[in-house]
């Protein structure tokens, strides 16, 4: 294929996402400001005001209404976008289930931020992890470039008739939303071609009336729910296919589970989001000292890419899972529990450790990551972790 001429721009993560939304030519945008998402919505309203984007921008009175507006607009057949963070995402929680169960292709960008209390506007993944059972596809980007690329892919995935599910594109608050980076963007016409309008299988149309969101008694609810479960399970190959096609177009290929030096690694860390960049840097350093470290970066969290993870961790001697969210009272963080469960299920007997890190915007430094690898090395030698959960960087935590 002939190489595409891309346009390199200096964009913050929020602007990169807004730019992608403009290029896919959405029809209805509705959102409510919340730090650190706000500048994204401001940018979009600017695009609408200048006429660069022909869309209805509905400035609602709450996030609950924002998601209601775009869900209803999607049910009417429009292409839609919303975005939020933290408390806003929590306020949408009720409607997230509804969007997914009604199989509506809503795309939402979430600028990940900690949740109250205490009020904290900095980054972690607590907001998104809270939504893991709502039936949305959840992707976590590592860079602004990836956030841009993923937004475009998200429309193609959500609207695919084999999927028809909402997609949440997560990217770290401030670390990505407010940092300017060079971002390679595609020409408009290529984005347009990559995200063609798909005729929805049903919509609110007086010529073919349907009732959407009816009451389903015990005799039907379960089957309807199962169709949704089935749809998200079957979305995995579609997500892979879309990533591949997008790679062919842009030269940037992403996989659901990205790995660095895992093939021959003894000690492996699993991470999500921007922090993975730091971890990758540490892996490279350790490799220079002949320490067999590796990194797995989860790009896709829902559906959980079980097979790919299993393949990558089976041969390790110790695996550490970084969680940027907690589940108080449970054995560990949400990603840790997920991986522990599949390991048990697939009979993989590798010791695992959970590292809770970076809550509420606490920095996760290269030396924190080094510490994690050190602990993994000890675990690999003893074959048994000292403890299941480590609270990295927490003052007063004295194991």
């Amino acid at each position: 294929m002939q190489k595409l001429k891309q346009i390199r721009q200096t964009l913050s993560g929020n602007y990169a996402v807004a730019y992608a939304v403009k290029q896919v030519d959405v029809d209805v945008i509705s959102a409510y400001p919340i730090t650190p998402q706000t500048t994204m919505v401001e940018k979009l309203s600017e695009y609408v005001a200048t006429g660069e984007l022909q869309a209805e921008f509905i400035p609602v009175e709450s996030e609950h209404s924002a998601l209601s507006v775009v869900t209803a607009a999607a049910a009417t057949g429009a292409r839609v976008f919303t975005s939020t963070s933290s408390q806003g995402l929590l306020l949408m929680h009720e409607i997230l289930f509804i969007t997914a169960a009604l199989r509506l292709p809503v795309v939402m960008a979430v600028a990940n931020r900690a949740v109250s209390a205490p009020i904290n506007i900095w980054n972690d993944h607590s907001d998104a992890m809270d939504q893991r059972d709502t039936g949305w596809i959840q992707i976590f980007a590592e860079s602004s470039q990836e956030a841009y690329d993923t937004m475009i892919q998200a429309y193609r995935i959500a609207e695919d008739l084999r999927v028809r599910l909402p997609v949440m594109v997560n990217f770290d608050g401030y670390i990505l939303t407010h940092t300017y980076e060079p971002v390679d963007t595609l020409p408009d016409e290529h984005v347009k071609e990559f995200t063609p309008r798909v005729k929805p299988p049903f919509r609110l149309n007086p010529d073919e009336p349907v009732s959407i969101g009816t009451l389903a008694p015990p005799d039907y609810y379960y089957e309807v729910k199962y169709q949704e479960i089935n749809a998200i399970e079957n979305s995995l190959p579609v997500i892979e296919e879309v990533s591949k096609k997008y790679g062919d177009l842009s030269g940037r290929y992403y996989s659901n589970v990205e790995q660095t030096s895992v093939n021959d690694a003894d000690i492996v860390l699993v991470s999500m989001g921007a922090l993975s960049g730091t971890a990758r840097h540490v892996v490279r350093e350790l490799r220079q000292h002949n320490i067999k470290a590796g990194l797995i970066r989860l790009r896709l969290f829902r559906p959980f890419p079980i097979k790919s993870i299993i393949d990558l961790i089976s041969d390790a001697k110790a695996v550490g899972i970084i969680d940027r969210a907690v589940s108080p009272g449970a054995v560990g963080g949400p990603v840790f529990m997920e991986i522990a469960a599949i390991m048990k299920l697939y009979g993989i007997d590798v010791p695992i450790v959970n590292f809770i890190a970076g809550l509420g915007g606490r920095d996760v430094t290269p030396s924190d990551i080094k510490y994690m690898f050190d602990e993994l090395q000890l675990t690999a030698i003893s074959g048994k972790p000292k403890r299941p959960v480590y609270y990295i960087g927490l003052r007063g935590w004295n194991p």
């Binding site: 009175e61 709450s62 209404s65 209601s68 209803a72 429009a78 309008r197 349907v210």
Partner: protein, 306 residues
């Protein structure tokens, strides 16, 4: 079109028989009349409540026009979304004809939990017709009080006892709240006066902006009366001055059904089980009479007939 008799109403039925509303429930009458006036090119947005659960028990539906329900408190936002989708798609040439967007929501879904979304939509001026069917309590969950439950009424959360004789607060002025948002058109109605209702729906649909119609729905189950009394009770609400029929257009109120001679409120109260305990509390009936007198004065209704 001005509706004066049954013959003026279209014969098409877009609200099908066979729904599960209680016998004698006027929500069905309301839905039927609304759709006769608004016609085929209409989209109904329903809030959770009686009107929703009784008409769409999967796999059947009573709605012969497109219908959507998302949740309890977001009917107004849902309607804004449908409206925005139509506006955007028409501008982009993806759709070639508009539709009437009509909300059906109960008093709970409107005056209480849904008030925020309603306020947002009215303030933005989103173009749709919002119909609050007001049965004066949360009926779907079993007759609990709402902000629209009238003074003195029994509900399961304003029960009777040594310390309480039903609700101790007067109804929230819901239509007043809508009008305070500078809606283009607002009106009260009741299915007992079907042509008055039909004319108001027609006007509400023509307005370029949000319109709000507040419809009193005598509920045989929650108000505790015989189903054969539905129409009669609705008429008595008007004739006692407790539910004056008026409209508000371009800043002006107009009474649409004159009441030259008012009936005393007791005529209305005594037919309903929810007010039965008031019969030996004349001082509470006097309070309610005073409330009706004030409304009568505001809307130019006549004196009480002797």
């Amino acid at each position: 079109m001005i509706y004066r008799t049954v013959r003026d109403l279209p014969t098409e039925e877009y609200f099908a028989p066979g729904h599960g509303l209680c016998a004698g429930c006027p929500i069905g009458i309301l839905a039927k009349i609304v759709l006769k006036v608004s016609g085929k090119d209409s989209i109904i947005v329903n809030a959770t409540g009686c009107g929703e659960v009784s008409t769409t028990l999967y796999p059947s539906t009573a709605w012969r026009v497109p219908w959507i329900h998302l949740a309890f408190e977001n009917a107004a936002a849902t309607a804004s979304g449908v409206r925005a989708a139509y506006d955007a798609m028409i501008k982009k040439g993806l759709l070639n004809k508009d539709a009437n967007i009509i909300v059906f929501a109960g008093d709970g879904g409107t005056a209480d939990i849904g008030l925020q979304a309603l306020s947002g939509a009215l303030e933005r001026g989103d173009r749709f017709l919002y119909i609050c069917y007001d049965n004066e309590a949360y009926m779907n969950t079993g007759i609990q009080r709402s902000g629209a439950t009238p003074f003195g009424a029994w509900t399961t959360t304003t029960p009777l006892g040594a310390k309480l004789s039903g609700r101790e607060i007067f109804k929230k002025d819901l239509i007043g709240i809508a009008i305070a948002h500078k809606v283009r058109y607002a009106a009260t109605a009741v299915p007992s006066y079907p042509f008055d209702l039909a004319n108001k729906i027609e006007k509400g649909l023509k307005v370029n902006g949000p319109a709000f119609i507040h419809v009193l729905i005598p509920c045989t189950t929650g108000w505790r009366f015989d189903p054969s009394f539905t129409i009669k009770i609705g008429k008595l609400a008007v004739q006692t001055g407790l539910w004056p029929l008026y409209e508000y257009e371009n800043g002006v109120f107009r009474t649409t059904v004159p009441v030259p001679r008012r009936k005393p409120v007791i005529e209305y109260l005594k037919l309903q089980g929810r007010f039965k305990h008031l019969l030996n509390k004349p001082e509470l009936i006097t309070e309610i009479q005073k409330y009706a007198d004030e409304l009568a004065q505001r809307f130019g209704l006549g004196p009480i007939e002797q």
